[in-house]
Amino acid sequence: MVDISIADATVEQILANQKGLIAIGAGLAVGLSGIASGIAEKDIGAAAVGAMAEREELFGKGLILTVIPETIVIFGLVVAILLLFL
C-alpha cells in the first residue's frame, strides 16, 4: 500500500479526493434512502395486493398508498443532486 500523507499531497490530489468523497456521499444518500423506501413499501404493497384481491376497485387507492414512501428516495435524490452540483 502506498502511504500518502496529506502534507505531501498536491492541491489537485486533495480536490480529486474531495470529489470522490462527495460522490460517495451522494451514492449513499440515494442508495440508503432507496433501501429505506423499499422496506417501507414492502408491507404496504403486500397489504394493497391483499385488499385488491378481494375488491378490485381498491387498485387506485392501493397504488397511491404504495408509492407514498417513494418520497423518501426523492429526498435522497435531492440531497445527492445538491451534493454533486452545488
Binding site: D43, I44, A46, A47, A48, V49, G50, A51, A53, E54, R55, L58
Partner: protein, 345 residues
C-alpha cells in the same frame, strides 16, 4: 427448518388487509331488521344475490327452501375458512390451522351425535362444516360407517382418539366435554412465545373464560353439584384460573353472582344478572356481544397480527348464526321480539 421459518417470518400485512376487505363484504347491521321483515323465499333470494351466490347456485338443484339456505350457509362457512388457510403463510397460517381444529371437534361431535340418534349418513353430512383438518371426503367416509368401532379406527391417528377411545355408543356428554378439553389444551400448548403468538394466546384465553362463564351460569342455574360442574369447565382461562374455577363451582347461586363482581366481565353483564333471573338468554347474548366487541377492539390495537383474522372468523360465524336464527325463527313463527334477542350484532 420449517419450525424456524414459522417463528421467524411474519407475513401479516397481506392477510390482514385481505381479511379486512373480506370483512367489509359481511352484511352490515342494518340488513338484519330488513331480513326480519321478509319471508323465507325472499331471504333466500337476497342471500343468493350476495356473497353466498356461488353456494346457493351450486346447491339449488339439490335442495330448496330452508334446506337450501342451511346448506348454503354451512358450505359458505367452510369455504371461507378454507380460503383463509389457502391465502395465508407461515405464522398466520399455523395459527389459523390450529384455531380451525375447532371444526374437527364439531364434526366428530356431529357424527357421533348423529350415530347415537340413528340419523342417516346424509343427514349427518348436512350438518358438518368441513373447515378443519378433516376434509369433506374423509368426513363422508366416516359418516357412512355403521359401527362406532369403525369410526374409532378411522380416527385412531387423530389427536382426539384419546377422548373417544373408551366410547361405546352410549351417553355423549362426557365425550363431548373431553373433546373440548383436548382441543383447548392442544391449542394452548401449540402456541409459542413470539409476539404474534402471545396475542393469539390472550384472545383464546378470553374465549375460554367466556365459555366457562356460560357453563357456570347454565350449570349453577340447573343446580348441579360442585364436582359435576368442575368437570365441565375448561382449564387455562385468562381471569378464571384453576383456583377460581374451583371456588366458583363450589359457591351457591347467590354467592356465585357476588363472586363474579371481582372479574372484569361483571361490568358487561351486571345489568341483566339478578338472583331471581329466570332465563339465561340475556346473559348469553351479552357475553356473545362482549366476545365480538373484544375481538374487534383488540384487532384495532394490533392491526398487523392474528387478531383481525380471529375477529373476521368470529364475525363470519356470527353472521351465519344470525341468518340461521332469523330463518329458523320465522319457520316456527317465533315473535320478532324473541328472534331479535337471539341476534348478535
Amino acid at each position: 427448518m420449517s419450525f424456524l421459518i414459522r417463528r421467524g417470518s411474519k407475513k401479516y400485512p397481506y392477510i390482514t388487509a385481505r381479511v379486512r376487505a373480506m370483512k367489509s363484504k359481511l352484511f352490515p347491521r342494518e340488513v338484519y331488521p330488513k331480513l326480519m321483515n321478509m319471508d323465507i323465499p325472499e331471504i333466500t333470494r337476497l342471500i343468493g344475490e350476495s356473497e353466498y351466490k356461488q353456494d346457493v347456485d351450486e346447491l339449488a338443484q339439490k335442495y330448496s327452501g330452508l334446506d337450501l339456505l342451511e346448506h348454503a350457509l354451512n358450505q359458505n362457512l367452510a369455504r371461507t375458512y378454507r380460503k383463509l388457510l389457502r391465502v395465508s403463510q407461515d405464522e398466520p397460517n399455523f395459527l389459523i390451522t390450529e384455531y380451525l381444529r375447532h371444526w374437527d371437534i364439531w364434526n366428530i361431535k356431529t357424527i357421533l351425535r348423529g350415530k347415537y340418534y340413528g340419523a342417516q349418513a346424509q343427514e349427518i353430512l348436512d350438518a358438518v362444516v368441513a373447515a378443519g383438518q378433516l376434509g369433506y371426503r374423509e368426513l363422508t367416509s366416516i359418516a357412512n360407517m355403521e359401527s362406532i368401532d369403525d369410526i374409532k379406527t378411522a380416527l385412531a391417528n387423530s389427536p382426539y382418539y384419546a377422548a373417544i377411545a373408551d366410547y361405546d355408543g352410549g351417553e355423549l356428554s362426557a365425550i363431548e366435554n373431553e373433546l373440548d378439553k383436548i382441543y383447548y389444551s392442544r391449542l394452548l400448548a401449540s402456541i409459542g412465545k413470539s409476539k404474534g403468538e402471545k396475542l393469539s394466546l390472550k384472545y383464546i384465553k378470553t374465549e375460554i373464560d367466556l365459555k366457562n362463564l356460560k357453563t357456570l351460569f347454565r350449570t349453577k342455574k340447573a343446580g348441579l353439584v360442585k364436582d359435576d360442574i368442575f368437570e365441565l369447565l375448561i382449564p387455562g382461562g385468562m381471569e378464571f384460573k384453576s383456583g377460581d374455577l374451583n371456588r366458583m363451582s363450589s359457591l351457591p347461586w347467590s354467592d356465585f353472582l357476588k363472586g363474579l363482581e371481582d372479574y372484569s366481565y361483571w361490568s358487561e353483564i351486571s345489568e341483566v344478572v339478578s338472583e331471581d333471573m329466570t332465563s339465561l338468554m340475556d346473559v348469553e347474548a351479552l357475553l356473545d356481544k362482549y366476545a365480538m366487541g373484544y375481538a374487534s377492539r383488540v384487532s384495532h390495537y394490533y392491526p398487523l397480527s392474528i387478531l383481525p383474522i380471529y375477529d373476521y372468523m368470529l364475525r363470519k360465524n356470527m353472521e351465519i348464526n344470525n341468518i340461521r336464527t332469523i330463518v329458523r325463527g320465522k319457520k316456527v313463527k317465533l315473535p320478532d321480539e324473541i328472534i331479535r334477542k337471539h341476534l348478535v350484532m
